[in-house]
Subunit: 347 residues, 2 copies
Amino acid sequence: MIYVNLPKQRPQPITLEEVATRAGVSAGTVSRVLNGKNKENRPAIAKRSEKIRQIALDLGYRPNAAARSMLRGAFRTAAFVTCGDPGIDWYPITGLNGIHAALTELDWRLIYNEMPASQIGDPDIVPQLLRETAVDGLIVNLLPYFVEETVDYFEAQPLPCVWLNIKREVRSVYPDERTGGEIAVESLTRSGHKRIGFFSRSFGNPIHYSSIDRLGGFQQAIKLRDLSSHRHLPLQSARPDRGAFQQRAEQFLSSFPDVDSVICYESAEVSSLTVAAERIGRRVPDVLEIIGFSERNIHDTFGMNAKSLIIPFHETGRQAVNMLQRILETGNRDASSIAIPYSLLED
Amino acid sequence: MIYVNLPKQRPQPITLEEVATRAGVSAGTVSRVLNGKNKENRPAIAKRSEKIRQIALDLGYRPNAAARSMLRGAFRTAAFVTCGDPGIDWYPITGLNGIHAALTELDWRLIYNEMPASQIGDPDIVPQLLRETAVDGLIVNLLPYFVEETVDYFEAQPLPCVWLNIKREVRSVYPDERTGGEIAVESLTRSGHKRIGFFSRSFGNPIHYSSIDRLGGFQQAIKLRDLSSHRHLPLQSARPDRGAFQQRAEQFLSSFPDVDSVICYESAEVSSLTVAAERIGRRVPDVLEIIGFSERNIHDTFGMNAKSLIIPFHETGRQAVNMLQRILETGNRDASSIAIPYSLLED
DNA sequence: TTGTACGCGTTATCAG
DNA sequence: CTGATAACGCGTACAA
């Protein structure tokens, strides 16, 4: 007898019991057969098992994930958390790709969740994700604007969580931005360039570690090769006014009129710089070669003539999943953070 | 007695039973109190209920979503599906934002799922999402390259699904691209422009409806105002070679040397066209004003001097959720498709 | 190898 | 308003 109010007309999914009834065996047997727990040595058994599998297939049997989760005491589900605030939030799709890929290998599900910055401090608002027990762990991508308080907030939850794209001592996975600068300089010098600059419109308070490290990696690589450095503007923390992006690009080019190649912090800098260069008659890439950090190929995506230093977000996502799984398996939360090196420079 | 192998040291979540024990009442009572099923008229009752709530809070009780799902016969979960193939896949983050926002209002969860194009035809590969019963419905975003077969594949599943960003008669939600062209032309004419062009690098086979409709909306708006049309290159279906993006922009400018303003299919066209224009000394936006279709503000994101016609993906996502919910509630799968009009033109 | 019985956590029902 | 009970679907220990 059904005593729970069910939505009208929802076709009930097939249960183990129904498969069992059709096959003339018990539910336990069907479960064992479908899960391959029988050896099926004797031909008669094998044949009957085959029949059971066929019936399950015909009926479209799909085990109920909730029932399995209950029995198991775990959900085989991780949640990706990001702030989602329009205009503020940013996260790489390639990172989601990597997380999904790694979870798929484990046969886990991925829950996508947004938590607005405005809600995270508020004790009255408990987001749905934390109101119920529904996932085994969190993979959190948050912006530097509110890292301090937010880290504590999540770490206080009874769920293991790993961090994306922030530099911490434990439980974080992030691109090793310094190696990017090295690869870019290496590529440019191999092409014969000697007067290499670094262009960034970086802003934000505090400044994201990637702004500091991409510049740092560039400077280190330049020094290593005894090339003169200093072809970059100082980092700025205030958000630029409207139109200031172009101005900054123009300022960069007039400050360093001799640059023959530039490494750009992101694709936005590539566009701005390309426009500013063409405006003063310096053709890209003939006269000015550009390499930009980007989550995806800059030429194919934006139509700019620049090489792309692919930020290893995909691998970052994969490793975050692995770290989370290790924490869950061992129960040991003290996982050292991992820096993922760059390796791809695409045309 | 525990008879299931549990992962080592996983701290067991608090159950209703434990809260009940601490409070000296039964589990049923705790459930009722926490769910507000009691009126709590008498002061003594109210006080005891308060105590129960406090204990639940102290212990960090969080209802188990799996248990609830089982009892309910539904998961309160929808899955967003996209192909995820690197370099091929594309979907707007703002769409995810909209889906998440609408689901949050319903207190539903969102599962993120990728299904590679290569797997969808393959009967031997059943993706995890469809192997278990774990969601109530699907919201599917797929590219035109393999729509035909894919639609059938998903529609054959025992799950209700709605479609994103494709034009179909039923169960799809998509931006009404024609209104975008209207708004753009309206804005440009108000600024005094009369020689308006439309630039697209569109490719793909079949060509996506947005390529056809953005151009169509533009042409209609031009005709409506008795402005001469034809300032656009023919659509092309073959994927352009490397570097062809810039060439196409240059070709556009040399074909229509008199254009005073251009509507671009996407932000990539905005960049390419801006560079090509600056290269021949036509400054943007002084001499050539540009408006581009984009999921997000083109100036802020890419540093280009162009206005942004914000594609209503957010609303598209919201409406898709609403449609799915209506289908689930009524059991009636025949939901007419919805075209979401444009409204935002950002500086 | 099979059927039986049990329990995972929660909530609706029903008698007190 | 409360406690006891049953039931959701599944997987496994147990005895046959």
